[in-house]
């Protein structure tokens, strides 16, 4: 697309919402989706073909460091995936800018909260 002169986009008139054309997020949405699908298949395989679990078997899955890291990576992929998806939803349906930006901010803060919580859950095992 040709660059249009952005005479009103500076200073107090700067447009505070809008796109960087979204290619990066588009690709990350797909990449995180593939990571999540792979992790879910891994976990389902271990849970269904590992026999009955109980607490020891279930918690035991998350004891090795590589499994903690794989799970954390999958959860971080999930949170970023959720961020892009929820941001799309807010951008599509919420018209007033201040409401939309507030919802986006709350969503982002909440997902970071979840990420930290996930670390705590996993590293307590």
């Amino acid at each position: 697309m040709a660059a249009t002169p952005n005479t009103a986009g500076i200073g107090s008139r700067r447009i505070v919402v809008g796109a960087h054309h979204g290619v990066g997020n588009f690709l990350l949405q797909r990449l995180t989706a593939v990571v999540l699908a792979g992790y879910v298949l891994l976990l389902l395989a271990r849970v269904f073909f590992g026999g009955p679990l109980g607490y020891d078997g279930w918690a035991g899955l998350f004891v090795p460091l590589w499994m903690k890291i794989a799970t954390l990576l999958a959860l971080l992929a999930l949170f970023y995936h959720a961020w892009i998806g929820m941001r799309d939803i807010w951008m599509d349906y919420i018209k007033p800018t201040w409401v939309r930006l507030s919802l986006q901010t709350l969503t982002a803060l909440w997902l970071v909260y979840c990420a930290v919580w996930s670390v705590q859950i996993l590293w307590r095992v």
């Binding site: 797909r30 989706a33 593939v34 699908a37 879910v40 607490y55 279930w58 918690a59 998350f62 959720a82 998806g85 929820m86 939803i89 979840c114 919580w117 996930s118 859950i121 996993l122 307590r124 095992v125």
Partner: protein
């Protein structure tokens, strides 16, 4: 423009759908898959604190694991889990369809329609399986 339009009943025309028109508007199968992909994703996002809390209970200790087992025995919890299982399975299966569409697999109208129907053909039986498992049938 088609000349048969004068003989048949005029089709309702929609431009930019208003909320009050949603129920009158019949989406084609790819459109249904699309909006349900969005709705299921939003539902999973909203359920995130609950799901993380369940994961926390399941991993913290044997005592919390036993508490989770008792909690999970409640029929309301089971119904919530079945709904979330549906949301997850639909989101996953429809998501795989979107990845294929991104790779230009099945983009023509007939193929997109049948793959949309295939999403239901896969996701609904899987959801039924998950429901039977959650309610302890097997």
């Amino acid at each position: 423009m088609s000349t048969s339009a004068t003989t048949s009943k005029p089709r309702p025309e929609f431009r930019n759908i208003h909320v009050t028109q949603i129920l009158q508007y019949k989406l084609p199968p790819p459109g249904m898959v699309s909006i349900m992909h969005r709705a299921s994703g939003a539902a999973l996002f909203l359920a995130l604190p609950w799901l993380l809390w369940l994961l926390d209970l399941s991993l913290t200790s044997e005592i919390s694991y036993a508490r989770l087992a008792a909690y999970g025995g409640h029929w309301l919890v089971k119904i919530a889990l079945v709904l979330l299982a549906w949301a997850f399975i639909h989101h996953l299966v429809a998501g795989i369809r979107y990845l294929l569409l991104d790779l230009h697999v099945g983009v023509d109208r007939a193929a997109a329609r049948s793959s949309a129907l295939a999403v239901y053909a896969v996701s609904l039986p899987l959801t039924l399986l998950a429901a039977l498992r959650i309610f302890g049938v097997f």
